[in-house]
């Protein structure tokens, strides 16, 4: 409990700082928020109107507090380009992005976990070495190259999957290539990590005892060795979410998926900074919260962490 409370305090502090930085972004832009939103050369009247709309003449801390209060209650402001609210835009697009990320994560773990266990079990065999080489190569393929390649191979050369995903037509089949583009790089990361940890675990005494008792290999690998070996995998999976978020920005662009990645790039080009700000703050806060959840999960899986803190 104390561990969780400590983490919670940390979470709140980080969230406050992260949201403040995002809030300040728009204020520190050259020309201030007026120029950022209206562009240079706006007439005095619209500037005055904007200043009144957003209460730009109040001191920064007050404006931050008000903005944060609004944000928490779901009001992230309004696009000055097309008038729709940021919450509406996010509400329409966030589910697709989340689905894509979950799909990618699922694919990555689906491949990485069995291969990680297998390569640790058969360490130093030819199978292990080939897997190692392939995953090293995969680490060197940026996801925009991966996506371009997959589109070329499986959407153009072979007409197996669609090259673009139409709005409203997002399903496991149409999202397969986008998710795979995101997943392949992660597979290598997960696999190498799990393999390393598994090899260390398999050298523990209790594994020897389990073998001596005559347990089946499968039981030893999955019941005894996998859980203690999965901790770093879990942590990195949490961090990976950050990767996936960045990745979706690009992948959505390539496959024309209407998610928040496409929204943020589009808004940047439109100079629609209030939308950019809203999306960034939601993404950053989400990322921080997910990592907080991973920390708690970590403690749940490994009692040593809870107890170490409780004693301390």
């Amino acid at each position: 409990m104390r561990y969780a409370l400590g983490k919670l305090v940390q979470l709140v502090v980080v969230l406050v700082i992260v949201t403040f930085l995002t809030f300040m972004l728009i204020n520190l832009l050259p020309g201030g928020p007026e120029a950022a939103i209206l562009g240079f050369g706006a007439d005095d009247e619209s500037i005055a109107q904007l200043q009144e709309d957003l209460s730009l003449n109040d001191p920064i801390p007050i404006r931050y507090a008000r903005w944060l209060g609004d944000a928490v209650t779901g009001d992230l402001g309004q696009s000055y380009v097309n008038g729709s609210t940021v919450s509406e835009l996010l509400g329409a697009r966030l589910p697709v992005t989340l689905a894509l990320m979950t799909y990618a994560m699922f694919l990555a773990l689906l491949v990485a976990v069995p291969f990680g266990i297998a390569t640790a079990w058969k360490a130093d065999t030819r199978f292990d070495k080939i897997t190692g080489t392939v995953s090293f190569a995969l680490l060197s393929v940026p996801n925009f190259i991966m996506a371009t390649l997959l589109v070329y191979l499986f959407a153009i050369n072979q007409d197996w999957f669609p090259a673009t995903v139409k709005e409203g037509d997002e399903n496991l089949y149409t999202l397969f290539l986008p998710a795979l583009s995101l997943a392949l790089g992660q597979i290598a990361v997960f696999l190498r990590l799990l393999r390393t940890d598994m090899i260390a675990t398999l050298q523990e005494d209790y594994i020897g005892v389990a073998k001596a008792k005559g347990m089946t290999n499968r039981r030893i690998l999955f019941r005894h060795a996998f859980r203690p070996s999965s901790f770093s995998l879990l942590t990195v999976a949490g961090i990976t979410i950050g990767n996936l978020i960045g990745g979706t920005v690009i992948i959505e662009q390539i496959f024309g998926i209407n998610g928040i990645g496409k929204l943020i790039v589009f808004s940047i080009f439109q100079r629609d900074y209030l939308v950019v700000q809203g999306v960034v703050v939601v993404i950053a806060a989400g990322f921080v919260i997910i990592n907080f959840a991973v920390d708690l999960l970590y403690a749940l899986l490994d009692p040593r962490i809870r107890h170490a803190r409780a004693i301390a």
């Binding site: 940390q10 832009l29 360490a123 090293f136 060197s140 990590l193 770093s232 942590t235 990195v236 961090i239």
Partner: protein, 340 residues
């Protein structure tokens, strides 16, 4: 606790968890940690082996050397053309060894080894000029990042105390943003108002800022291990000042692992630059970058796949070489002391 220990009993806080060290970024999921991960497992095996660098190492190094030379000398080399010169006869011309390509410039007046793009520009020259951007941004951002982040990490790891806590907390805050999202925010922030195009300077600066936290953390980790060592104690006993100890005793030991690391860092920055230019947010359009070449080539993927695939291949080989050479060098320097 003198050095960060990998002991699982240490509660992994947001900052101490192994994965927190990654300079994750968007384009590719290359991560510092993932590359380090194998070092532990391979330690015992590799201690027995004679530490020699295999043929792969030299091939990768050769690729990098050739690429750097071509990129550096591009304006003076006779066979590297102007990357924006349009040769109408070379429109979507395939690479020389394929049907429709030519070795002797028979289709058009000049040789287009890697074919021509959608506008008839020479892909070979564009790839070389693109390498100039990628390599410059990669090397400059990592060098600056090490200068700033390295100084932060070195002093934090040596002086410890409140200073370390505050500085490292600031680094963690930066890592709390997903990397590409932070990059987008900084690019927007640094771009000149009224123009959407970012200059080379803006991009380099953005990626420098992005690389600082990870590089600071790494430098701090290896500083921590060295600052407890006997030779540092000895220097202190002899009355050496902090500055001298840092520069003469610790720095020389921290540099070798940093050098091998910097290659991997360069690869990561190149991917990030590629991602930004792929999105059209890096150096603006007519300038050739690998990212915008791939992006432009995608539209012709069906009829002239080489326009996108050639820069893809060059970029992949470069990243693979950087990662491989970096990884090999790291094993050679035996960085197991620098456990993160």
């Amino acid at each position: 606790m003198p050095a960060p220990s990998p002991d699982p009993v240490d509660a992994p806080s947001l900052s101490e968890r192994p994965g927190a060290d990654l300079l994750t970024e968007a384009g590719g999921e290359i991560e510092f940690d993932a590359v380090t991960a194998d070092v532990t497992a391979d330690e015992s095996r590799h201690q027995l082996e004679e530490r020699k660098l295999g043929i792969g190492f030299w091939v990768a190094t050769a690729w990098l050397v050739v690429l750097v030379l071509l990129a550096f000398l591009a304006p003076w080399l006779p066979f590297v053309q102007d990357p924006n010169e349009i040769d109408a006869l070379a429109l979507r011309q395939p690479v020389a060894w394929q049907d429709g390509g030519s070795w002797n410039g028979s289709a058009s007046d000049t040789l287009h080894l890697l074919g021509g793009d959608d506008l008839g520009r020479d892909i070979f020259s564009r790839v070389i000029w693109g390498a100039r951007v990628s390599l410059f941004v990669g090397v400059a951002a990592v060098a600056l990042g090490f200068l700033i982040g390295g100084t932060i990490g070195l002093t934090a790891g040596y002086f410890r105390g409140q200073y370390e806590k505050i500085v490292m907390a600031a680094m963690d805050i930066m890592l709390a943003f997903p990397a590409l999202i932070l990059a987008l925010a900084i690019v927007v922030f640094l771009s000149e108002p009224g123009s959407q195009e970012a200059t080379l300077r803006t991009i380099t600066l953005t990626l420098t800022i992005l690389s600082i936290p990870a590089l600071a953390r790494i430098t701090r980790a290896s500083t921590l291990t060295f600052s407890q060592r006997e030779f540092v104690q000895a220097a202190r006993t002899l009355g050496a000042r902090n500055g001298r100890i840092l520069v003469r005793e610790i720095l020389p030991n921290v540099i070798p692992p940093m050098v091998s690391f910097s290659l991997i860092a360069v690869a990561i920055v190149i991917v990030a630059e590629g991602a930004l230019s792929f999105l059209g947010l890096s150096v603006s359009a007519p300038t050739a970058t690998w990212g915008n070449m791939i992006n432009e080539g995608r539209t012709a993927l069906e009829f002239a796949p080489h326009i996108a695939l050639v820069p893809c291949a060059v970029m992949f080989l470069t990243l693979l070489s950087l990662n491989y050479v970096g990884d090999q060098l790291r094993r050679r320097f035996d960085v197991k002391e620098v456990r993160l």
